[in-house]
């Protein structure tokens, strides 16, 4: 499998290198869909320029990346293109290895169940993938990530979102490999970068417990012992990172400038998310209330999803990534690319998806309409902000439908695995499944 992967990497790097050399790179770097006020490369350069002038980059409201990023690029600013390509390659390889490992476990689990016999109804065999069918899934995941136009745009714009994705991919890899310490460290890095990955704590702990055969039962001491261990590692590394950032710049200015900025959404630059127009049009005395409502949305689904999906932490991880990228305050297409890369892992759900065709069409149409309506609003002056806003709404509805469709399909497959694929009514006629 190494040869196709290598070929894929070469193709992906070539495309990126070619785009860096073209005049498109500058245009892409200015696109509001691709870069947000946090991740824009222009702002990272500005932060470095401010440091050179002897001004704290956090004294102004242009730079909002974390101190580690600015120190990373303090040394790597001349190799930025290579760094971002490398970040994409690392993400792809990490996802590839993670999915490979995950599939191995799925097969092993299936064999275990097969031994137990009678576990699955007979007619469910067609729902279960053979190892042969699963052979190309890791490669597909890597391909979905590397050749996704969203990832390519994000990389060519040098959006620091690529770095965040690499960290999250490494987190997924280390979690699936069962390394609790590294998992906690990478999760903490991801949280440090953008707060929201905090919600990935739950799937990580569920997965690691599953691997170590610790029952997910709050009455058991071993459960709590593991939770405390993991949280200790996580909070410990977070503490180290925050102190390190403090010592790098010698001030706590970065806390309000990075995390306050993410949470209070003062910058209303248009993006593909739901926040910008909503808070531009918000009545001032309701602002705080709605800010809380919108921010809670990201964290809110963690507990019910963890309960519902406690046996399937990897799917939970996918759901969480999708929820984050839809409801975060400054989303970019790079965030979407990450959870979309995981779609091939769930290719066996396709038979239960209800409106995948519609959703794909809407997503494609919106991706094309974003630049068109932006041009009409900002440059031609023949449209107004409502046009662009309408497209962001549609794009987010499509994403929500996509995620909930996959969730539905997953739950339905689980139901069929237990109750058989061809359900019969009491009178023997063919039955239809409904949610009640």
């Amino acid at each position: 499998m190494a040869a196709p992967l290598t070929l894929l990497l070469v193709v992906a790097v070539t495309i990126r290198a070619a785009l860096y050399r073209s005049s498109l790179a500058e245009v892409i770097a200015e696109r509001v869909e691709v870069v947000s006020p946090i991740t824009a490369w222009k702002r990272v350069i500005e932060g470095l320029a401010l440091l050179d002038l002897g001004v704290s980059p956090y004294s102004g409201d242009v730079f909002h990346e974390t101190p580690l990023v600015i120190y990373l690029f303090h040394f790597l600013v001349d190799y930025a293109e290579i760094t971002f390509m490398l970040a994409d390659v690392i993400s792809a390889i990490a996802l590839y290895l993670a999915v490979k490992e995950y599939n191995k476990q799925v097969v092993r689990k299936k064999q275990k169940f097969a031994l137990e016999a009678d576990r699955y109804p007979q007619d469910c065999l067609e729902l279960i993938r053979s190892p042969k069918e699963m052979l190309y899934i890791p490669l597909k995941v890597a391909m979905f990530y590397l050749l996704n136009p969203f990832t390519i745009l994000s990389c060519v714009a040098k959006s620091t979102c690529g770095l965040n994705n690499a960290v999250i991919s490494l987190f997924i890899l280390t979690t699936i490999k069962g390394n609790a310490l590294l998992s906690a460290v990478f999760l903490c890095l991801a949280t440090y970068q953008s707060i929201y990955p905090l919600t990935l704590c739950a799937p990580a702990m569920l997965y690691l417990m599953q691997r170590q055969y610790i029952p997910v039962n709050y009455r058991r001491a071993s459960f709590w012992w593991f939770v405390v261990q993991y949280l200790f590692m996580y909070l410990g590394s977070l503490f180290v990172l925050i102190c390190l950032s403090f010592f790098l710049l010698g001030s706590w200015d970065y806390l309000p400038s990075v995390y306050g900025f993410i949470l209070s959404v003062p910058d209303l630059t248009p993006n593909i998310g739901l926040f910008w127009y909503f808070f531009a049009e918000m009545f001032e005395h309701f602002r705080l209330f709605f800010l809380c409502v919108f921010q809670i949305n990201v964290f809110f689904y963690t507990v019910p999803l963890s309960i519902k999906l406690k046996d399937h932490p990897v799917f939970l991880m996918f759901m969480q990534l999708a929820v984050i990228s839809i409801f975060k305050s400054y989303p970019t297409v790079g965030d979407i690319a990450l959870y979309m890369a995981l779609l091939p892992v769930w290719s066996h759900l396709h038979r239960f998806l209800r409106n995948i065709f519609l959703v794909s069409c809407v997503l494609l149409a919106c991706s094309v309409l974003f630049p068109v309506l932006w041009h009409l609003w900002i440059y031609a002056g023949s449209a107004n902000s409502n046009f662009y806003y309408a497209i962001t709404l549609l794009f987010n509805v499509a994403q929500i439908l996509l995620v909930s469709d996959y969730f539905y399909a997953f739950l339905r497959r689980e139901h069929h695995l237990i109750h058989g694929l061809y359900l019969k009514k009491k009178d023997g006629s063919e039955a239809t499944l409904v949610l009640k």
Partner: protein, 596 residues
């Protein structure tokens, strides 16, 4: 109360000016402190002095530049423990402001129109379009921001202007461009505040309170010429107030407070003169002069006749034998002087109506050595670039200039895109002071020291990004655009004649405002045009719709996830039809087997 007291003493006839502006304290009015008042203190009487002058410079474009200067000097100390309570020539409203807010220097200008340096040359005292206010506080002030806030509100009331719109989002603390103009003992820029309101519109309501500050009001002296219906029918109008402590003598043993009020106006005589190139005081101001202000120690009119030594360009009547020379802005100028304190000036008709009649339209002006312009480049509402172009017209001398830019936060400057080029080459500034903006808190401040090579054009560019604001943050006419205040360029320009560094020597007022420290150069401040920048706007009619639609999308997300989280899959059992249900119900009552 006090005027009564002074009348009793009989020293001089007291003239209380502008008591109404801030009002006497109630205690004084009620005479509670009468006993204090009648204790004759042996302190020497404060010396004060008032001078007025009008400078008229015929411009080569055919316009007329008239500059009024009124100076009140008062040897007193506002910062003394017991408050200064007796005012004679100095306006009480401003005196109280100085002592209440511990102001060391106060400079305020209101300007309508833009000074065209290339057509009109340098003004005696430059000012940017709109309102400009800069204040140095005493170093005893602990909370400068609070004092500044209160001071702007008080001044707003005194001058009937929108100075109360000065807040932290348009106030900066320049580190080098605005040094104190009076006596200096400390220049820590923490005590300096500078703000401009480029959108401010100046009109009669600002002129009236300004005139009230004069000892003679607009009743006598040069101020009778200040009629708003004529002054505002002009190409350029600017009124300023400058308060600073100055030295009385060379050793600077005693200091006094100087209040300088100036009013500059440029009349466009092409449009109002019906094609004839001639003007007179009456034509310009619809008044003639009949007397000097009785309180003034000097009252003069200067007419710049440097370019007209043989009367080849214009003819001036009535003629005056008095000629005076002064070094103004690096150039020795000759002026015809009319002294209004001399009765002979008014002649037999007891009224002075100066008249200039042009003979030829030719003549070329000395090009100003330094001028600047500014514009926004780029298209669309996402990004843009500010270009500031500075011209050094000196044929062989280079000189440094300090450029100050204060840009509002909603134009996000990217300092790494800053380029300075002269003659096609990079010209790295030797000093850069940059303070990035904070959203809704403070503006960008960019100050830099650039060396302008001789006979060159220096271009400073910096890119910016336009922010989308909250819908309530837009001005009432958002598609008109947002104003960005003028850049300020301060420079020491090489002078062709030796400058006068002797501050104590009697000089005309208009030539002695900026202190001159060396003979070889003179200080010039140039303001560029303010910018008008468009920002992207949301749809202002849509707040309810947007709130509803966005919340709907969030609800769709919540609903579909909630649905899947709380419900479980079940086999659908079709409901029996209603008729069958009723039939079965009846059959159950009857005890008959049910229908299946």
């Amino acid at each position: 109360m006090h005027s009564y007291f002074w009348l009793l003493i009989g020293r001089w006839e007291a003239t209380e000016v502008d008591e109404a502006a801030l009002g006497d304290s109630a205690a004084d009015k009620l005479g509670v402190r009468a006993s204090d008042t009648f204790v004759l203190t042996p302190t020497p009487q404060p010396k004060d002095d008032f001078q007025e002058e009008l400078v008229i410079r015929p411009l080569h474009s055919g316009d007329i530049y008239a500059s009024f200067q009124f100076r009140t000097l008062w040897e007193t100390d506002f910062m003394r423990e017991n408050k200064v309570s007796h005012y004679r020539l100095f306006p009480k409203s401003l005196g109280q402001v100085i002592s209440k807010f511990s102001v060391r220097e106060l400079h305020i200008s209101f300007t309508q129109g833009y000074w065209r340096t290339m057509q009109w040359g340098q003004p005696f005292l430059p000012s940017p379009p709109g309102a400009e206010l800069w204040v140095w506080f005493q170093d005893s002030v602990t909370d400068v921001d609070a004092a500044w806030k209160e001071l702007t509100n008080v001044l707003s009331g005194i001058f009937c202007a929108s100075l109360n719109f000065i807040d932290s989002t348009n106030t900066v603390q320049p580190s080098a461009s605005f040094k104190p103009l009076g006596i200096v003992n400390e220049t820590d820029h923490r005590f300096l505040r500078y703000a401009t309101l480029p959108r401010e519109i100046v009109c009669t309501e600002n002129l009236t309170p300004w005139k009230k500050l004069l000892p003679c009001g607009s009743k006598a002296g040069l101020a009778v010429l200040l009629k708003s219906e004529k002054l505002f029918h002009s190409s350029f109008f600017s009124q300023t107030v400058h308060i600073r402590p100055v030295c009385q003598d060379r050793e600077c043993k005693t200091t006094s407070w100087e209040l300088r009020q100036t009013l500059n106006v440029v009349f466009d005589l092409h449009t109002s003169g019906q094609g004839k190139r001639e003007w007179s005081l009456f034509k310009m101001f619809s008044r003639t002069l009949t007397e000097a202000c009785p309180l003034a120690s000097s009252s003069k009119i200067y007419i710049d006749v440097t370019d007209n030594p043989q009367e080849e360009y214009f003819e001036l009547s009535p003629a005056t034998p008095l000629l005076s020379q002064a070094v103004v802005l690096g150039d020795r100028r000759t002026f015809s002087v009319y002294d209004l304190t001399q009765q002979v000036t008014f002649g037999t008709v007891r009224s002075l109506n100066l008249l200039i009649r042009w003979k030829s339209t030719e003549g070329d002006m000395l090009r100003p050595l330094l001028h600047a312009e500014r514009y926004v480049a780029g298209y669309g509402l996402q990004t843009g670039e500010i270009h500031t172009v500075m011209y050094n017209n000196h044929p062989f001398r280079s000189f440094p200039v300090l450029l100050l830019d204060s840009v509002p936060w909603y134009l996000r400057l990217y300092i790494h895109t800053l380029t300075v080029t002269s003659k096609g080459k990079d010209n790295t500034p030797s000093y850069i002071h940059y303070q990035p903006s904070k959203d809704r808190m403070r503006p960008h401040l960019l100050e830099m020291l650039v060396q302008l090579p001789p006979h060159s054009v220096t271009e400073v560019t910096v890119q910016f990004e336009r922010a989308l604001l909250k819908w309530t943050e837009y001005t009432p006419d958002p598609n008109h655009g947002f104003y960005v205040g003028s850049s300020v360029i301060s420079a020491l320009v090489p002078s062709s004649v030796a400058m006068d560094t002797n501050i104590t020597q009697e000089q005309p007022l208009f030539s002695s405002f900026f202190p001159c420290k060396e003979e070889s150069s003179y200080f010039v401040r140039v303001y560029t045009e303010p910018l008008l920048v468009n920002l992207p706007t949301p749809d202002f009619s849509m707040p309810y719709n947007v709130i509803c639609l966005t919340c709907t999308v969030v609800a769709v997300g919540y609903g579909s996830l909630y649905n899947l989280l709380t419900r479980s899959f079940q086999i659908e059992e079709p409901n029996p039809r209603l008729a069958k249900k009723i039939a079965n119900f009846i059959r159950r009552i009857r005890g008959v087997p049910l229908l299946s």
